[in-house]
Symmetry: C2
Subunit: 518 residues, 2 copies
Amino acid sequence: MSIPTVINAAGRAVMTELNGKPAIPFRGVGKYRPSGNRYGPPIPSCTDFPPDGNKVVTTLEEALLRCGIRDGMTISTHHHLRDGDLISNRIFEIASVMGVRDLVWFPSASFPCNEPVIKYLEDGTINRIEGSMNGPLGRFVSEGRMKGTAVLRSHGGRVQAIQDGEVKIDIAVLVAPSSDSFGNARGTGGNSACGVLGYAKADAMYADKVIVVTDNLVDIPCLPMEIEGNYVDYVVVVDKIGIPEKIVSGTTQITKSPDRLLIAELTAAFLEKSGILKDNVRMQAGAGGTSLAIGVFIHEILRKKGWKSKFGFGGSTRYMVEMLEQGQMEYILDAQVFDLESVESVTRNPKHVSYPVFNAYNYHSKGNLTCMMDIMILGATEVDLNFNGNVVTHSDGYLLHGIGGWQNCLHARNVIIPLPLFRDRIPVIVDEVTTLCGPGELIDVVITERGIAINPLRKDLIESVRNSGLPLTTIEKLKEEAERICGKPSKPVFDEKIVAAIKWVDGTIIDTVRKIKK
Amino acid sequence: MSIPTVINAAGRAVMTELNGKPAIPFRGVGKYRPSGNRYGPPIPSCTDFPPDGNKVVTTLEEALLRCGIRDGMTISTHHHLRDGDLISNRIFEIASVMGVRDLVWFPSASFPCNEPVIKYLEDGTINRIEGSMNGPLGRFVSEGRMKGTAVLRSHGGRVQAIQDGEVKIDIAVLVAPSSDSFGNARGTGGNSACGVLGYAKADAMYADKVIVVTDNLVDIPCLPMEIEGNYVDYVVVVDKIGIPEKIVSGTTQITKSPDRLLIAELTAAFLEKSGILKDNVRMQAGAGGTSLAIGVFIHEILRKKGWKSKFGFGGSTRYMVEMLEQGQMEYILDAQVFDLESVESVTRNPKHVSYPVFNAYNYHSKGNLTCMMDIMILGATEVDLNFNGNVVTHSDGYLLHGIGGWQNCLHARNVIIPLPLFRDRIPVIVDEVTTLCGPGELIDVVITERGIAINPLRKDLIESVRNSGLPLTTIEKLKEEAERICGKPSKPVFDEKIVAAIKWVDGTIIDTVRKIKK
């Protein structure tokens, strides 16, 4: 059965019904206005909670039973334990044994460690995943094997969907490196420290039932309270919530590839010469090898000029921590933490603070931080001639990545995408992105090892570097060059069946992903 | 016209309709279970907010107009500027000039500085106050001169009413000692520092429109963000939000009265001998002269024994700060700050933290901190033979005080009320409280300068001090002694007209206040 589709404002065919509920096609950037009110979870009463504040129950199974787990419920988790998470899979293992069916898993992200979930997708325990699908999970979905339709949202879009009641979380299972018996919890301390719990907050506030799972029970009050116990129903204490070395990488590594270093150097030069990089700049970059190199180059420029970045928005890395500690950055604002140095920093440095995702990324909010960022360094799997970006599928059509904060970050003042012209001899700049995740009007600059293409909409930026000596080119020329080297790539062949919907930051559907035709 | 009443579970005649909406009579402690869902304010969109994040408008008047101020709206304010607040009255002055009628003022507390509001109650700008009524405002209400019926709630009850949608705030006007142009705001910095903004958070989160008023505009990001800018519509910058010396008293003063000192000494002795005071104790006391003396005596005992209080819950005072700094208290958790030393402490000491009222006091929550407190020292205007307590009216029947956190604090494990046997030759222990604010089953011990009465329900406590040498007595004997000295006080004579409703922590009506008969 194929789902009926309509053409949305971006020219993509998308469904008007998603997993049995009406869905709104993308209407253009800033064009859709929400109506109605935020969701309010059921009103609880202290009468139903232990007066001594002790909410500890013996096992996760007991907690899930007490939360009334049953068919069709939505279970949410956060991803702060990253690839070291030992609890998410366990939830569905328990549910499977209980014979619960058709759950919706609503993670803030998934990781390779979640491959075992495929078993519970296959046995009917899970109907679908609404969250990032990568590696084996992406392949499973792309092959059309998931029962329900996957829904991919940005970090901000996830928060928007929760607060707007678009996704009603029945049970949130929130792992916490430290918690007290009341459920006040934080991301630091113990053996499984992950730094901050930024992506857990919306779940705690809006879920009907909330379970905190910890391996480090501390005295009341567990401070700072990133999860507030007044939102928590049960606390489960286990031996181990995560594998420390997989929660945070020992060290995040700068790229050693000469091409990537060249891209990083060009990016830093562009930022300097265009005047975007300035004293008090607000900046954000990812934790990939090229982004880290860009950060190091920027640090050097700031130091040389005697400037300081007002703040950097994390995921933080040791390179940001160095800027903070050496005086070239005033604050690190963080929603997640990528390495041990950053965990250490957020634990002890009052200028390194956990920052609410509602404030940073939520588009259904009274403004947000992302719009106010000066420099935003982002990646992409593909960029096309209209500067449209793709981050979820590769050119072979398979779901590969989640959206993360990518769509939210597109709202920054200057969005720069440094990327290699090709990867594994497949061009990255294409005629038309396989999957549209971000409209080209929001992507300002593409920087490759073979030149810099500025979006023609940004006449001001083009003007700012006119006589800079930078290797300026056009997106068309970059594409031609890539194809000259690699040849024109063959397009993936898709089946009719839609396997995933890509949400825009406002909850509308910007694109879909279809099943790969074998 | 008299409102029809029914007798509630505490034997008090209360209305079933309050200001035109159905009201629920008190059903007994822990007996009423709420239904339905928390309120969700309208969903906003970044589309409607400035992309540069700058929400500053020129005047409070302009902000109110942009918020669409109109007849019948509910306007909320917080009380962290205490008697130095320069903004609350100004709101109604503006509204009066605009010709807006029948507003509801919903402050988290009011102070003598709010006397000018009477003018706007008289001219019809304000229909009623839902919040504390003291001094001149209390007299105005008690004389039956307010158009609507006053509603008094505890701090926790106010938060409960907001989240449950019992009170829908149309416009919250939140003064902030520091704010950035996005509306991220805090209680420290500038010339009007008040320490924390604990009571502003619920208003920011749940109001339809939010205005932040500051006299200290700081760079983005204003940290720590006690008010998160994503909830804020407009920021108004004025010359002066408050009078510093009236915001926090220069010094909070321990009582010098020999009787009060004796009460304090007896209280400390009772806590020590009963075993309630112990290592890791969780404690809370007020900022009155007797409470402060008790705190000092407790400090001395802790020091002597080598014990430490796990935490004290504020309003904080310099005496708590001394315990923190000298090592006899591990944390101060704070929802408001009473003196300069405490402002200083919360600004710089990471063990002195702003604590969410939702977590501390809200009864419609998944448990709260108050239930977990070991020692709770509270005041009262009257206590009766059934240990019932009154904090809002004096024995002359006039509204005198707000409830503050008093009702919430009654849920602590050991509730101790130290109070003089009489004030101005009027007995404080009476046959029956003029106004019932807290049921006697929650009040454990009454300590006077002429003896200690333990609630017969607390057999364990009676047992614990049986051979302690403390001057134990009964509540009946205390009353007799007071009347022997002062004579039996005459009762106030009330009119039929109900002028105020007293809410319990769960939103039900525990009692009413009637108009004074002249």
